[in-house]
Symmetry: C2
Subunit: 362 residues, 2 copies
Amino acid sequence: MAPTTETQEAYPMKGGDGLTSYSQNSTYQRGVIDAAKDVIVRAVEEKLDLTNPNINSCTSFRIADYGCSTGPNTFFGMQNVVDAVELKYHSIQQSPPEFQVFFNDHVDNDFNILFKSIPPSGQYFAAGVPGSFYQRVLPKASVHFAHCSYALHWLSKVPKEIQDKTSPAWNKGKIHYTGVEKHVTKAYFVQFQKDMDIFLKSRAEELVGGGLMVLLLPGLPKGETLFSKTGAGMLHALLGASLMDLAKKGAINEDKVDSFNLPQYHPSVEDLEMVIEMNNCFSIESFGTLDHPMRHLPFDVKRTSAQVRAIMEAIVTDHFGSEILDQLFEIYTKKLTENYLVFEKEIRKDCDMFLVLKRKSN
Amino acid sequence: MAPTTETQEAYPMKGGDGLTSYSQNSTYQRGVIDAAKDVIVRAVEEKLDLTNPNINSCTSFRIADYGCSTGPNTFFGMQNVVDAVELKYHSIQQSPPEFQVFFNDHVDNDFNILFKSIPPSGQYFAAGVPGSFYQRVLPKASVHFAHCSYALHWLSKVPKEIQDKTSPAWNKGKIHYTGVEKHVTKAYFVQFQKDMDIFLKSRAEELVGGGLMVLLLPGLPKGETLFSKTGAGMLHALLGASLMDLAKKGAINEDKVDSFNLPQYHPSVEDLEMVIEMNNCFSIESFGTLDHPMRHLPFDVKRTSAQVRAIMEAIVTDHFGSEILDQLFEIYTKKLTENYLVFEKEIRKDCDMFLVLKRKSN
C-alpha cells in the first residue's frame, strides 16, 4: 500500500551550499518561482474553496512540495502558498488553521541541508518526505495544496529502447533527443506519458477532493516541434558533443557516451493536456506560460555553464566518475562561447509552463 | 504559532553507521525497545479506542516518534505500534487505515542516514520532522499515537545555576548531579520539571483527544535517593573524574571541566507522577518498569565504554574539541576496569521506566 523503497533513478541536485552547489546556481529557477507567485496567489484566490468540508473540517492546512531539492526556491514557493491561503482566510474574517508543509524529494536529496535552511518564520510546521514522486509518498486525502516546480521534466528513468543497440530508437553518439530522430523522441514521449500518469494517479490519491495542484515545468515553446531548436535542447546537445570530444581524446570510452542519456522530457502544451485528460482525476483550471526577467537577460556563458554543471554533476559523475568533470565543463564552456551568437539569435528560449489543476471530487 | 527555530542545546547521537556510531552502539536501548513491545501492544489493545471519532474519522493513523535519533531502534518501535494497531483493526473486522510515521529529532540529527535506513516494508509513509521536542513540531490534533524512547532524560539545557560560581548550586569539579549536593540536584530537578511540562503541553496540543503516548526513559530505581548509587550516575561520575585527570595532566583547563555539565535528569516515579498530574492534560493509564535481558548481562567494560562514547561524543566535542576524545576514553576505559567490582556488586542497575498516557478529551 505504501511503497517506501525506490526503484527509480535519482540524480539529486548538487548538495551543500558551496560555489558549485545547486542552491547557489538556481537563480533561473528562482526567476520562475517569482513569476509563479502570481499564479499561486490567483489560484488560491479564485480556485480554492474554503467552504469545501475536505478543507475547512481539518485542523491544519497541508501543503506538499514534490521534488523540493535543497532550497532556497522551495521555501519561497511554500511561503507564497502559505501567504496566499492566510490572506484568503483573513478576507473572509476567519483565522487560518495551522499550516504543515511536506518537503518531498528522493531519499538521496540532502535533507540535512534542507532542514537547516528552513526560514525561522514560524508560519508552518515542516516535515521532510523521502521518496520518488513517481509513487505514493503521503497518505490518502492528506494534502490540500500540491506544488511541483521544475521537477516533472525529470523522467523516472531513461527509456529502455534508447540504450538498446538493436532498437531503431538507439541514440548513438547523443545524450538526449533532438526531435529529429522520430523513434528516439517517441520513446522519450512514451516514458513521459507513463511517468506523468503515475504522478497524477499518486497525487490524486494524496490530494483531498477540491485540492489544488500547481505544476511548473520547462516545456516546448508553442509551435515548435524540434527540441534541438530550444535553449535546453541546444545545451544538452553541446554537453553531448563535449563528451564526444572527451571520447575522441581517449579520456572516456565512446561506448560509455552511447550508453549515457538524460532522463528528461520537455513536453508541449498538447502533450500535457493529453496526459491530464486521459488520467481524468484533475480538471485544468488554468494553463499558461510564465514571463520573468531572467528570460530576457543576455546569454551569459559562465553563469549558464555553472548552472548546467550544478544540475548535471550528479548524473555525469554517476556514469563517468568525477575525474572528468573539470575537463568536461572546460570544453563545455568553450562550446558555449563558440555558440554565443546561436544562443542569442537562432535559439528559441525555453518556455516555462504553469498549470493549475483541481482534484475532481469523487 | 509554530516555532521552527531552536534555542535549545542539541547534542545528536553520533551519526553515520561506523563502528563508533550511535546506531552501532545502542544495543541497550534496543533491549528496552524489545521489552517495550509488550507495553505498546497492551496499550493499543486495552487503551486505544477505535470508536473514538478523533481516530476513526481520519483517513490515516498518524504516529510520531519524538527524539528518534538515526535508528535502528526507532524503526523497531514504530513497527511495533503499526503492527499492534493493524492487529486491533483486524480483530474488529475492519481494514486498518494508511499509516504515517513522523520521525522527530533536533535539526542536527542525521536525517539523511535515517531516511536511507527506513525499512522497505511499505507499511507506512515516513516523514522527518526537524526540531526540539521541547516546543511544538506538529500541527494541532494531528497525532494519534506518540512515542518517546530514551530521549526525555535529556534536558533542554544545563540549569543556569549549575555553572554560576556565585550560586550554591555551582557544580565545581563534577559534570553531573550525584544526589548528595542538594542545591545541585534541585536545580536539575527544577529544569526537568520545566522541560517536562513544556513537552507535555506541546504533545497535548499535537495529540487528538483520546490519543495515546508511550514514554520510555531511564529513572531512579524505587527507594533510591542517590543518583550516584546507580549505573548511570556512576558512569557519569567516572567520566567527570576522567576529565579531571586530563585537566591534572594539563591536557585541558580545569575551568573548562567546571563549566561542563551534562543536561540530563533521571527522574523518580514520584517526580514523573507529580509533573504529569500538575500538567493535567494526560491521564496515566499504566506505569511500571521494564525488565529485559540486557539488564542481566555481566558488566562489560569495552561495550560500556563504546556505548558511553557514542552518546557523549557530540557533547564532549562541542565543549572540549575532538582532539581529547581518544585520550579521554582511554582513561575512562581504565576507570571502568578498576571499578568492575563496584559495578558488579555495589551499584544498582538503572531502572527503565515506561508510562502509558492518554490525552484527556477537552
